[in-house]
Point group: C2
Chain length 256, copies 2
DNA sequence: AAATAACGGTTCAAATAATGAACCAGCCAA
DNA sequence: TTGGCTGGTTCATTATTTGAACCGTTATTT
């Protein structure tokens, strides 16, 4: 692994539940030597990618990341554009709505709206979603580049529940249905008792760049609710796509 | 320079005006060999810190940065907390209001609200502000740790205009006034014709973690307006500090 | 249309930076 | 005191990074 990759994998040890970690902890979890870990942290701290708490001496993600993320957002105003529509959808469905963006080989959760229910589906910001076993993933694959689809189906596909589809053929069929229907449905493919619908948000070239999804406990979800939500999520994704790409709707007509 | 530092300095070549750069361009600007530049980019792309445009083959900042930045925000809800107050202040002053966070040895602009005026002070998101020659910087130093102040005054201090204070003694005096007054004033210290006021946003330990500032063309700014804005910016900073730290106001009473 | 220049990308011996076992010193609980 | 934990440091060994020269393509320029 490259040194840069090691440094980044240190950053990836932080998450919303454990936003601050000590040196020994980081070394243990990363598998790197303590000296190595520390030198990497110093390099990262020198550029503001991590900060060290003056009191506890623990490390946390730094302001330099926010800076770069905001520069990216200025070019790709994905969040800014999508969040209002995520809110709307959350208000009308009264279920968890989450927004994700593609990164490397997964979807990254970039925004979530939770309903007031005690029994709800919980998704964290920053959470990574696999492509083959979530509604978002299938919706993404339905409009992804061929090479992305191939890379996904070529890898080993984890079965998260008894319902997870892991045969490439079955997943391809699911993608095809999602493409035809305009939205994907995932019935307990990632977690038992959770049913989700999702639609792809598409760039100007017609390929997916992210997704919007509604996730709910299966116990209180009827088939009619799924169909209704599917249309709503599709409409939201379409609206976000249009706002992102100006009015160049015709380029969105591309079929993979 | 460490390999990690090199990789990060590649990321830092991107800004809001040039959010996409080609390989040769990146190599030229960074001073690294083209092969080195490319290997670093591949390592960064592998973790989603940069993305390559499929068409132009140019690189841009990636979604992985947004992911980590959002994890940080979940712990340190600085933006979320401060932006509404920045908007309020922008509405009432009808001048440029910018919010910054400390990083390494500078202030990082994380949010800006511009007024509708054609003649206004323009600040970009991601822009870096020096500590000694801006209202934000002085406000920050006034409530910074001693070692930060020392490190700042020890370095070589650029004179950006004829008005820039570059003697440590003069800067210290300016800091003292800001501390006593509750806000700093910077009269054309960074750019000719621009006058700013700023106040420090403080963490639970009483030390500054960022600033909020109002910047305006000097031509239309009266002394009375400065005094009024100073009080407003101070009040906004105080409100943000309180919201960030719960109601632990007493800890904010610390005097450096 | 030919020539040129600039582009992104690749190779491999040589140079340089990363590595980690062993080492502090400080803190806390038994 | 002991023992075990913490964050942090050192330096000979080792493995990674480096860059001149290379390729094939894609605009420009003549």
């Amino acid at each position: 692994m490259s040194t840069v990759g090691k440094a980044i994998s240190l950053l990836e040890l932080f998450n919303v539940d454990e936003p601050e970690l000590g040196l020994s902890d980081l070394a243990r979890r990363s598998g790197f030597d303590k000296a190595t870990t520390r030198r990497l942290l110093i390099a990262l701290a020198g550029r503001g990618f991590v900060e060290q708490d003056a009191g506890t001496r623990h490390y946390r993600l730094g302001a330099g990341l926010s800076r770069l993320a905001r520069i990216r957002e200025a070019r790709f105003p994905f969040l800014q554009t999508a969040v209002p529509l995520v809110r709307e959808l959350a208000a009308s469905t009264v279920e968890t709505v989450h927004l994700s963006e593609f990164g490397v080989d997964r979807l990254v959760t970039v925004h979530v709206e939770h309903p007031a229910w005690a029994n709800r589906v919980n998704v964290d910001i920053g959470q990574l979603l696999p492509l083959h076993s979530t509604a978002s993933g299938i919706a993404y694959l339905a409009f992804a580049r061929d090479e992305t689809v191939k890379a996904c189906l070529a890898g080993s596909l984890d079965a998260f529940t008894a319902h997870t589809l892991i045969e490439p053929v079955a997943i391809s069929r699911s993608m095809g249905e999602a493409r035809a229907r305009g939205y994907s449905i995932c019935d307990q493919g990632y977690e038992e008792g959770v049913i989700s619908v999702a639609a792809a948000i598409r760039a100007a070239d017609g390929f997916a760049l992210g997704t919007i999804a509604v996730a709910a406990p299966k116990a209180r979800t009827t088939a009619a609710a799924i169909a209704e939500r599917g249309l709503a999520v599709m409409e939201a994704a379409r609206e976000i796509s249009i706002r992102l790409n100006g009015e160049t709707l015709q380029t969105l007509r591309r079929q993979a």
